[in-house]
């Protein structure tokens, strides 16, 4: 076991996979000598050289495309998009090219795209986005969004070893805020499995990314009032873990789905729909979604605090639902 922050866990996964597999290489803006905008790849170019840690000119569409071509020819590229907000620039290359090659002509595209996402850092409309839902609506991609250092490491390893394009949303807010013991050695967290982070009987909170911590905090708060909350961390958003989602709905009969992304068209709708379709009879109350309001991510601290879901808002929603 080694205690790692969320950021260190990501670095460690990259480092170890590069040590273990010569085919793994990194492409991204400022990831070389600078170590990346968030320092995830600090020290990498010194160890692995410029051949394997490649600073990119600003041309996300082409370097994602080049990574796809390299992946087809046997490499296993990991691309860093400096901020998830800029993933709209190579969007076509991801949704039209990467997602469909295997289906159309059986060319596996073992590619990971790391996209630092999320707000709470006073970074405004273009350095705070949570665009995961776009990719969840694209068959052929896989989408993961780990919350804990352990999952961050295990899922990144699994993503690198996967033979499909995986969009890996890492939550910037968590980079240095969370820390835990992470097992050493060669293990992975399988893509497609959610994780019950807290068992409870009264209300389920389904969340992912930074909202998992807010949910856990809310659970502690309401526990004092006798409400026993189960927290399910989705971890993977495509494919969703249907069994785990229906399982928690069955156990508590009352479900709140929480995400940092804006409400309308978000992943919460999909999760809610799955429950409403397949666990309807087990429900004791309306389904509830808690998400950011439908606006761009505002910058100013009071605005962003209002915008962003948090433990207080979750606790309030839990109390209301428990009382239903």
């Amino acid at each position: 076991m080694t205690e790692l922050t969320y950021l260190q866990a990501i670095s460690a996964a990259l480092w170890e996979e590069m040590e273990a597999d010569e085919r793994v290489l990194l492409l991204g803006e400022d990831i070389g000598p600078f170590g990346g905008a968030f320092k995830v790849t600090k020290g990498f170019v010194e160890r692995f050289g410029e051949r394997r840690v490649m600073d990119m000119p600003m041309s996300e569409w082409a370097f994602v495309g080049a990574a796809i071509g390299a992946a087809m020819l046997g490499l296993r590229p990991v691309v860093e998009i400096q901020f998830a907000d800029f993933i709209a620039t190579p969007f076509d290359m991801i949704v039209n090219q990467a997602a469909t090659c295997y289906y159309r002509w059986q060319a596996p595209v073992p590619l990971v795209i790391r996209a630092p996402s999320g707000g709470g850092l006073r970074a405004g409309p273009f350095h705070s986005q949570n665009p995961e839902a776009w990719f969840v609506h694209r068959p052929g991609l896989k989408v993961v969004a780990p919350a804990s250092p352990r999952d961050a490491k295990g899922l990144l390893r699994a993503a690198i070893r996967d033979n499909n394009p995986v969009i890996y949303f890492e939550n910037k807010y968590l980079y240095r805020k969370v820390k835990e013991d992470v097992p050493d050695g060669d293990w992975t967290v399988p893509i497609g499995q959610a994780d019950v982070k807290r068992r409870g009987r009264d209300v389920s909170v389904i969340a992912y990314g930074s909202m998992v911590y807010e949910a856990l905090e809310a659970a502690e708060t309401v526990a004092a009032g006798g409400i026993d909350v189960e927290v399910l961390d989705l971890r993977t958003l495509l494919p969703l873990d249907r069994d785990a989602i229906l399982g928690t709905a069955e156990r508590t009969g009352k479900v709140i789905v929480v995400h940092e992304a804006t409400l309308t068209g978000g992943v919460g709708g999909e999760v809610t729909a799955i429950i409403a379709e397949h666990a309807f009879e087990l429900l004791d109350a309306p389904l509830v979604r808690l998400a950011a309001p439908d606006t761009p991510v505002p910058f100013s601290p009071p605005l962003e605090d209002f915008f962003r879901p948090n433990a207080v808002k979750i606790a309030e929603a839990v109390r209301k639902l428990a009382a239903y």
Partner: protein
Amino acid sequence: MTLATAVRSLTRDDLHTLLYWMRLTRAFDDRVRLLYNQGRIPGAAFSQRGHEAISVGSSFALGPDDVVAPMHRDLGAYLLRGMTPRRIMAQMMGRVTGVSRGRDVNTHGMGDLSLNIIGYVSPLPDSMPLAVGAALAFQYRGEARVALTYFGDGSSSEGGCHESLNLAAVWRAPVVFICENNQYAYSTPLSRQLTVENIADRAAGYGFPGIVVDGNDVLAVYEATQAAMARARRGDGPTLIECKTMRMLGHAYHDDGSYVPRDLLDEWSRRDPLLVYERQLRDLGALTDDELAALDRRIAAQVDDAVDFAEASPWPAGEDCLEGVYAL
């Protein structure tokens, strides 16, 4: 390449091989048009007429381990690289025996890594960075392989074209870009697309050679590509070759192309790549009437066979569409 040089560097067999692929491409394409008009090909199909010298001449310069990413007017490249007429015709007809097993339409998605062919998607010019990435993989492993890809005059206006050329330059990647300037992007003439004479001149903005060749002269295309491949293989980086040509029919077979001025087509029909090449070979004394007739008979038989094969091939079963979205 003067005819004389061509004869020096190519055997008589080579010259006939080029002729074969060009005439096969033409015959196959003519048949596709016929079948499309008869309603025997669902969807759509792109016209190839006028592009035979480019697709064949350039891909003839590939070594066995080189990778090619052909586009929608590069039927000749698919054929030459070993994709059989049977598989391609079945692809056109959406049968299980087609390259994409009925999943993708016409020349889209006709990739096969065992043949070192990268398939294309419809958004353009999305194959360009893939070729650059393939070249990156070669560099990475120290392999003396080269990637070749194509883009149109229309596609030259897309941002991705610029990004791909620049990335290739920065990496000094072993990649050759063939610009097929057929003077139209769908219905849009060059005059509404760009303001310069030669797209190849833009290569100067990336510090690598940009060359203009007659896209209707298969030997010229071959020679230029051959030189660019050698340069790339030597580690000297990319080349952009602009092949000037004319799209002789509509964009695809549902389009009659009537917006193209008649006299422009007339002028270019006199430069038909098959005619030009036939004349060259005859001038060289490298082609007899009998040889040509025999070749065309062989080709017609192959195309017939491809059609028979395709039409005898089963349609995919509906629920097949669910399978294989993800690689294992």
